[in-house]
Symmetry: C2
Subunit: 412 residues, 2 copies
């Protein structure tokens, strides 16, 4: 269900079996701290040398303590380790939460013999509850003991340790051919909603062995996130803990600076994050369909993106897709709620290969064919505004009884 | 379930058993046009003399044909009849839809011997499908025949004829004591979502026998709607057909112009619409709870209203209330997604009589007591931002499996 949403690679790019540890000089592994009983729930991502770090964080005004702490590492610009826990978000946890996040950072730093600022901290899970520091401490001891003993590498375990209600880990790796040589990219991410403050959060960690200057990396990451994670919605709102971190350790000795290298690297990075974003949307809580919306013929990219997001976040569109109902009226109504004015009589809506509404006029369509199109895992709506030449996309998932069950009965 | 959401009246105000026809000089009645089989589906509201009309319409950029037509009547300023049909919204129905709406207006006007501009038209129901004009024509003939024969009055029937997925009609009437004399207000409304483009729409019709100048009435209605219908959410977005119309026919000969009369009338009108809004929210599709959120201690009313709306529209808050889970973290995360910045350590969240989060610190609470509070039909969250003195409210309903069922399987 999830891997079928991966699109073909771009030129100069090859998918690799792998994850965060595919780029040279990175290792990732997991430990059981018993915050979430019976499974790995802490992970450490390690770079053999300090890596240039870029990061983007939730826009929610309520920010978790690890987000506030890790912002300083990103601002500082170098990072050699990321420690992540599931089961507790350390958000809205009072002043003790700030001390707890700093304590984790310092303990990891001491164990790895790096400055505390070189350690990024990320958390996901229940909010409003203090971290169980005795358990966290045991988890950190295990991570550090493994690191010292045998330089472990179990990126798959790490990708599982960061999950909450996700059904499957989201990991990808790719190689990029540049005029100057080859570099690799890896990612691990988790969903399964943009806002699940009591249970989930969007986290993504990106590694590369490319050699990047921080200002360029900041720009590349922001561009890629704008076209990937900022285009998905499960609940419609950002969580308190959303974090995307990218580490570039330069171990490949391939420097990204010529226009051709920057262009290829940007395309590949965006494509990688786009696939991870699609995987997160497809694995939204209770989801049975991935919903893609492309808005084209728009006067601006901003307007196209805003309207595409409005479609994939509409409860009515989401419920209609679940019911396999080709309900284009809800798509039309959704684009009417945001962005720039448009003329309904210029709008055309298609679903997969079927035209449903053409320049303001409803089109008779074959119901059997529509059912067949909607039985596919990915349902694609294309809205042409007939105004300009800009096109942007967004992704979401359907709204199911299972989503309600999960979110009605989670805490108790 | 619905009538228990009505709050006590204000001073100078008395609830009356009644609806639209309680103010002097108004009649309302229904007919079966068979657009929705087996029940009344068209209604006519009639004033014995031309009434001053004010109106507010959907902010959706996709506007139904009757909305575009009725805007002209409101702009013109006088109205003597409103004709409403359920079962078909006459939205996104191509150029024929414009002709159909005008044809209805003209046929009613001719039958009632009033100018076409004096007739307002409103529709609700499926979008993207042409009105079945043969049936509409039969319905209009029945309405006109009844009107001519015996000056019918069946406001209850009218309130049922405008429903779609609503469980109950929403009707209220009240009397206001003014220094100059008594006037009456009546309302009928339907939900059951802010956006249900394929099946529902928010419609409200308000009558009064007060004597009002149009500019004053426009101001009074806008103020009241800002504090009532603009504060409810079932799906989070406006429909293509949302319409609020208010008719003042002056039959009481009590003119609203002194500051005291204006103030009392405004309070009563706002209170009336507020109750209708609460009834609509409580009767949202599949709802089992009314959710109220009051944001206080805000630096501005605008910010308070925006944050209150964010809480009642959050799928996660809605699902938690359904599950009777006192999940204050989702309330906190929801207010963080909109409006002005605030300090989490100044925020206090209470649910009914229970403090759950106080100035940034989670409070231990009695789970049994919380279950009892959440088993009530109305669940009230109060969020104090600790910033200023402004307070505003919003209302919504819980998100249930039944909502998903209704919206997944409606069209087919």
């Amino acid at each position: 269900m999830i891997n079928d949403v991966i699109e073909p690679v771009l030129p100069h790019m090859t998918w690799l079996e792998g994850t965060l540890n595919t780029p040279a000089g990175f290792k990732a592994f997991a430990a059981e701290a018993d915050i979430v009983p019976g499974r790995p729930d802490m992970a450490l991502i390690w770079s053999v040398k300090p890596a240039v770090v870029s990061g983007l964080f939730t826009t929610n005004q309520v920010q978790a303590w690890p987000v506030l702490l890790t912002r300083k590492t990103v601002h500082h610009g170098l990072c050699q380790a990321i420690v992540v826990n599931a089961g507790n978000a350390n958000a809205a946890s009072g002043p003790q939460g700030e001390k707890d996040a700093a304590w984790i950072q310092e303990k990891i730093a001491r164990g790895l013999s790096v400055p505390p600022l070189f350690v990024a901290v990320a958390s996901t899970g229940v909010i409003g509850v203090s971290l169980p520091m005795d358990k966290v401490s045991v988890g950190i001891d295990k991570l550090l003991a493994d690191w010292k003993r045998h330089s472990p590498d179990d990126a798959k375990g790490a990708s599982e340790a960061i999950l909450t209600t996700d059904q499957v880990p989201k990991v990808l790796a790719a190689e990029i051919d540049l005029p100057e040589g080859r570099v690799r990219l890896g990612i691990m991410a988790k969903g399964s909603g943009m806002i699940h403050p009591n249970m989930a959060t969007m986290l993504a960690f990106v590694t590369t062995d490319a050699d990047l200057e921080k200002p360029l990396q900041d720009t590349l990451l922001r561009h890629a996130v704008d076209r990937s994670f900022h285009r998905i919605s499960v609940d419609g709102d950002p969580s308190t803990n959303d974090t995307v971190l990218m580490l570039a350790n330069g171990v490949s000795h391939v420097r990204i600076e010529t226009p051709e290298a920057v262009s290829r690297f940007q395309s590949a990075l965006t494509h990688l994050l786009r696939q991870a974003a699609r995987m997160i949307a497809a694995d939204g809580e209770g989801a049975t369909h991935l919903i893609s919306c492309r808005v084209q013929g728009a006067a601006s990219g901003k307007d196209a993106a805003e309207k595409a997001r409005a479609v994939v976040r509409s409860n009515l569109v989401k419920a209609a897709v679940y019911g396999q109902d080709p309900n284009w009226g809800r798509v039309l109504a959704a684009i009417g709620t945001v962005g720039e004015p448009f003329s309904v009589d210029q709008v055309t809506i298609t679903m997969g290969p079927m035209v449903l509404f053409q320049r303001g006029i409803p089109i008779d369509f074959d119901e059997d064919k529509a059912s067949e199109v909607m039985s596919r895992h990915e349902v694609v709506f294309i809205v042409d505004l007939g105004q300009g030449s800009c096109v942007e996309e967004a992704w979401g998932c359907d709204l199911t009884e299972r989503y309600v069950e999960i979110n009605a009965h989670y805490r108790t």
